[in-house]
């Protein structure tokens, strides 16, 4: 049998919607909206991840870890201590 991802996705979505809208008509739309929002929050994270991979943010992690240091506050410099000590 040929694998058809789009048809599978459509069938699963349709079945889920049928199930969710069948009962508890007054409550279900609220849950869908709430979890829709949760999904939107998750989607922003996935979107950020895709964007950062495309931009090559993960190409040189050693350099990324050291990006908060510079000439004036280099790696190895301690930058805080109790006053007057």
């Amino acid at each position: 049998m040929k694998w058809r991802p789009r048809a599978c996705l459509f069938a699963v979505t349709a079945a889920a919607l049928r199930h969710l809208t069948k009962k508890r008509a007054s409550v279900t739309p609220f849950y869908i909206a709430l979890w829709g929002l949760a999904a939107v929050l998750g989607a922003t994270a996935v979107g950020g991840l895709v964007w950062s991979i495309r931009r090559g943010e993960f190409d040189n992690l050693r350099e990324g870890a050291a990006s908060i240091f510079d000439e004036e506050e280099p790696v190895g410099a301690v930058t805080d201590r109790f006053p007057g000590e």
């Binding site: 996935v46 990324g64 908060i68 004036e72 190895g76 301690v78 006053p83």
Partner: protein
């Protein structure tokens, strides 16, 4: 000093100077709300074991004082300290000056007025009675305006950033600044319109309340930790891979966890199970963060003796691990059937908002403020007093209420134990809570005194933006980081 070094120093001076007015406004306001919130907390705590205390004034009854304390701490202290730190960190990370020199300080003023209105309204009896969002909904527009300006400033700095790389702290800050408005607006719609009714409102309530901690305070706190620990000890984060894994797993899992607050409630089991699954999955980001912070600090723990910032931030980071583990375990139905509706939950909440977030914010303020005002903190002794009173106070608070809450839960599940016996059992532990509260408030007063003297620039003058560093330490400090 070499030309490149001098250029970096001048750039940093300009960045810090651009942040001065806005961030100091936010920080000073935060300290004010910390004192207000602490006073209200003490009153509420004393009423738990001595209900006759201030019982004749209706605006100081427990039902008003407790939500007023929460509003002052969440929207006054926590959010204002968080926004101040967020703006300074973004300016530093993007190496840009803070934009909107008039508008951003104005948001601090508006934010203060909004919180003041909210706290007074709650004390006057106009609370919405919805936990974590008790402030009347009329204030949402003002909060919304402030957040919109802060988002605009964040985007502007990010677009003009010098570094091609986006440091992990910047990701956390973006998470906080973009997720919080979405949460807040959604909660206002669900909770203050007919969009949700009855029991389902509770689902929206706890989805919002849990995410305020997880997607507003936690990202700001972790961004600060990921910046300050490496910066203070002069060592890059142990594993940058883990830090990024930690961010994205938090981003994906955290916002599903809120419904674990409603275990046993009149909601569909699947809805609560999703919350439990999300909570347990939080082990992934928590373990990555815990391992990373510990390994970054390994070999550098002696700096805790010399750095006030590190002391507070490391205490907060350790408590982040503790509260997250505890939270995941608490979300399991078998644990929750004992801990729910007990003082155990209160101890857990304070471990998150106080021991983690508040302590990290103290650390950030000890680091940032001298750089903004070019002035040293005026007394090491007062800083130590602040640390030990808050650290010991928090430990007493957590131990006392956790123990009392667990026993309270076990007794409440036993039908043979009369309810009044359970109440009597908790009273000594509630006293320990008040003692802890007094200790923490003493620490806050010490910090307020330090901050007041900082505003008056009573400490030693700092010629540059970097605190005094002894040359041998620069050469001798451990250099690590696997990238």
């Amino acid at each position: 000093m070499r030309p490149a070094e001098e250029r970096e120093r001048l750039t940093r001076i300009q960045i810090d100077r651009s942040c001065r007015q806005t961030v100091v406004w936010y920080y000073a306001s935060a300290v004010f709300w910390l004192l207000v919130g602490s006073t209200l907390a003490l009153v509420a705590s004393i009423k738990m074991h001595s209900p006759e205390f201030l019982a004749d004034w209706q605006w100081l009854t427990f039902g008003r004082v407790r939500p007023a304390h929460l509003a002052a701490m969440i929207y006054g202290w926590g959010s204002m300290a968080g926004v101040g730190t967020l703006l300074w960190l973004e300016a530093r990370l993007t190496r840009n000056r803070l934009p909107f020199p008039v508008l951003l300080p104005a948001t601090a003023v508006i934010w203060n007025l909004t919180v003041a209105f909210g706290v007074v309204a709650i004390l006057a009896g106009y609370s919405t009675s919805i936990e974590w969002i008790e402030i009347p909904p009329a204030t949402a527009v003002l909060f919304g305006f402030c957040i919109a300006v802060i988002i605009a400033a964040s985007i502007r700095m990010f677009r003009a950033r010098e570094s091609r790389h986006t440091y992990v702290s910047q990701w956390y800050l973006f998470g906080a600044i973009f997720w919080f408005p979405l949460l807040y607006v959604s909660a206002q719609i669900f909770l203050h319109t007919p969009a949700a009714k009855g029991a389902v409102k509770a689902a929206a309530n706890w989805w919002f309340a849990h995410n305020v901690l997880g997607l507003w305070f936690t990202p700001i706190g972790l961004a600060t930790v990921y910046y300050l620990i490496p910066k203070v000890i002069g060592r890059p984060v142990h594993s940058y891979h883990l830090s990024l894994l930690g961010f994205w797993t938090l981003a994906i899992f955290y916002n599903w966890a809120g419904t674990h607050h409603l275990i046993g409630g009149p909601l569909p089991a699947w809805l609560i199970t999703v919350g439990i699954v999300g909570s347990v999955m939080m082990f992934v980001p928590v373990v990555t963060v815990a391992v990373n912070h510990h390994m970054t600090m390994a070999g550098n723990f002696h700096h805790l003796k010399y750095s006030p910032t590190l002391r507070f931030v490391v205490y907060g980071a350790m408590c982040y691990t503790a509260v997250s583990f505890q939270g995941s375990l608490q979300s399991l139905r078998t644990v929750n059937e004992i801990s729910h509706f007990t003082h155990y939950t209160i101890a857990h909440a304070h471990l998150g908002v106080y021991a983690f977030f508040t302590m990290v914010m103290f650390g950030a303020m000890y680091y940032v403020t001298p750089r903004l005002l070019n002035t040293e903190w005026h007394s090491a002794g007062w800083i130590r007093l602040h640390f030990w009173t808050t650290a010991v106070g928090m430990a007493i608070y957590w131990l006392g209420l956790s123990w009392a809450g667990w026993e309270q839960g076990r007794m409440m599940n036993d039908p043979r134990v009369p309810f009044l016996d359970i109440v009597r059992y908790t009273v000594p532990w509630l006293w320990s809570r008040s003692v802890a509260g007094i200790l923490m408030t003493a620490g806050h007063l010490a910090f307020a005194w330090l901050f007041w003297n900082m505003l008056r620039q009573r400490g030693a003058y700092l010629p540059g933006p970097t605190l005094l560093v002894r040359e041998p330490e620069r050469a001798g400090a451990a250099i690590g980081g696997e990238g």
